[in-house]
């Protein structure tokens, strides 16, 4: 039991996240992963789940981190909030960055707290010039506190906010230009948002600045039971065919990028998640330059 406490960082694989498929790490799969050591590019976790002093979560993550590069994907920084960032949370995040040496650290174009209350959700904000300034200042502060650049993810939208006047791809491009952050493109979120707000998903993908894309997310969604026009980004199903098609459209432009399969509710047995990762890997391989072969 103590082996996980005494281990030094030198026992680990390098931090760098390859342009391969990875999975969101779930406790239910850790035994399979540690025993089988599957050929998996990398894993990702929500750092908020590891903001505890000790115990089995850290032991598990230390063990997995030995063999796999790790990405920290935050949900609670509230970068799109009109308030200052939460200093305690930033410090806790920095501690995890120092401890686990993640290859990537990412967050969302969203807000999640107000007046000290944390709403535990990725809440939408109107994309305006004011929001651009505020978000950029918050990203600057986060990157300063963490001592490294981060990536920002496009969230799912369920409705249009009346005051938004900047298209999201243009907004994200401008934020990246101003702050030096990169973009995490969630293809399922584009698909869900396009369905729910009437934008054109393909045009969105085509408008993204390819050089700034450092990571891609893929996940499943469901149709809402009460409102059949509505898609919910529930991360609880296999990735839809239309999302795979949109993913192929994106990587045709970008080439291979680190691509994560997220499956957070109705979590399947490990072989099913692994098969989804293989599907992503197969698609990435098509766009991987083959050594010694002229393009």
């Amino acid at each position: 039991m103590r082996r996980t406490i005494d281990r030094t960082p030198n026992d680990r694989v390098a931090a760098n996240i390859p342009d391969r498929a990875g999975v969101g790490l779930k406790a239910a799969h850790v035994d399979d992963i540690l025993q089988q050591q599957p050929d998996l590019g990398w894993v990702e976790v929500h750092p908020e789940n590891y903001m505890v002093a000790g115990g089995p979560r850290h032991a598990m993550l230390e063990a997995v981190r030995e063999t796999y590069p790790l990405s920290l994907h935050g949900v609670a920084l509230s970068l799109g909030g009109a308030e200052r960032l939460d200093g305690d949370h930033l410090r806790a995040l920095r501690q995890l960055v120092d401890r686990y040496e993640p290859g990537l650290v990412s967050e969302h174009l969203a807000w999640s707290a107000r007046d000290g209350v944390y709403f535990a959700d990725l809440l939408p904000l109107p994309l305006t010039t004011e929001a651009l300034t505020q978000l950029s200042a918050n990203i600057d502060e986060a990157q300063e506190a963490l001592g490294r650049p981060i990536l920002i993810e496009n969230p799912s939208h369920y409705f249009t906010l009346p005051d938004s006047d900047i298209p999201e791809p243009a907004f994200l491009s401008e934020v990246a230009e101003r702050t030096g952050c990169s973009l995490l493109v969630d293809v399922n979120n584009i698909f869900v948002s396009a369905n729910n707000t009437g934008i054109d998903a393909e045009a969105y993908v085509d408008a993204l600045p390819i050089d700034l894309i450092g990571e891609i997310h893929l996940a499943g969604h469901v149709r809402d039971q009460a409102d059949e026009q509505l898609l919910l980004d529930n991360h609880g199903a296999a990735i839809a065919d239309a999302v795979w098609t949109l993913f192929e459209r994106l990587i045709t432009r970008t080439g291979p990028r680190p691509t994560l399969i997220e499956w957070d509710t109705d979590i399947p047995a490990w072989p099913i998640l692994q098969a989804e990762a293989r599907k992503a890997e197969d698609r990435l391989s098509v766009f991987r330059p083959v050594q010694g072969t002229a393009q």
Binding site: R2, G55, A82, A120
Partner: protein
């Protein structure tokens, strides 16, 4: 100075999210947006209900899902999360239950919540190697004046109900077996010497002794303060139980008697 448009928007949005029991939506959202605002409301209320359920699984079993999640909504209305990590959300739930009349018929519910909270805190407490029992043998007569540092995971929960038996009866994942629950109170020692949380029963005198030591008493004082208890107190047995369970992290060096070590 007026709030900025972004700040005003978020203020209104947050107020609508936090409104207890209503189906409010923020000003400025209309049509489908007003209806679909429920998704975010649900993410907040349902999501935090799930967090509370994960932290208090036996409380949930004892009252049933409908009652539990209604109760969770009431709790959330007065105890919105302020930490960005939800792992330890629900700290005040045991106290909330003590003053929640609809649950008053399940008399031991607040105590069960205290036990489950103690286990959750122990699970995520700092990793420390427990004090080895043989360290006591080395102390000899100095034991009487020795103080101890509690292990970060150690908690002692006392109850007027057989709280550990009830908890154990709800661990199988099936319905309680129906075996009789003994009368009388139980005290529970919660520790985590390795990665697994351990629970074991203590007599009320053992629990009092352990609590005295954990609050910084030296051994003589801790024993003296237990003498008021009615039951016979076996010091060796009490120490054995606490040490074997890994209740302590260290001898308290700041209060060590005879700290001058020969030859140094």
């Amino acid at each position: 100075m007026n709030a900025s448009p972004l700040s005003a928007f978020q203020s209104g949005f947050a107020a609508a999210l936090a409104e207890h029991g209503g189906d409010a939506h923020p000003e400025g959202l209309d049509g489908p947006a007003a209806t679909r605002f429920r998704i975010h409301r649900n993410n907040y209320v349902h999501g935090l209900g799930q967090e509370l359920a994960a932290a208090y699984p036996v409380v949930r079993q004892l009252v049933g899902d409908d009652f539990f999640f209604a109760m969770a909504r009431d709790y959330l209305a007065g105890h919105a999360p302020r930490s960005r990590s939800l792992t330890l959300f629900g700290e005040d739930f045991p106290v909330f239950l003590r003053h929640f009349p609809p649950a008053a018929s399940v008399t031991y519910l607040p105590d069960m919540a205290r036990l489950e909270r103690a286990r959750l805190e122990a699970l995520h407490a700092a990793d420390t190697v427990p004090l080895a029992p043989m360290r006591l043998a080395e102390l000899g007569e100095r034991l009487a004046e020795t103080r101890f540092v509690g292990h970060p995971a150690t908690r002692i929960v006392t109850s007027d109900f057989p709280i550990l038996e009830i908890w154990q009866a709800h661990q199988s994942g099936t319905e309680p077996t129906g075996r009789p629950i003994s009368a009388g109170g139980q005290s529970v020692l919660v520790t985590r010497p390795g990665l697994d949380v351990m629970v074991r029963p203590l007599s009320s005198a053992e629990a009092a002794f352990g609590q005295n030591l954990l609050s910084g008493d030296d051994v003589v004082t801790a024993v003296d303060r237990v003498q008021g208890e009615e039951e016979v107190f076996d010091l060796t047995k009490a120490f054995g139980a606490l040490l074997a369970a890994g209740a302590f992290a260290e001898l308290d060096a700041t209060h060590q008697p005879h700290t001058c070590i020969e030859g140094s």
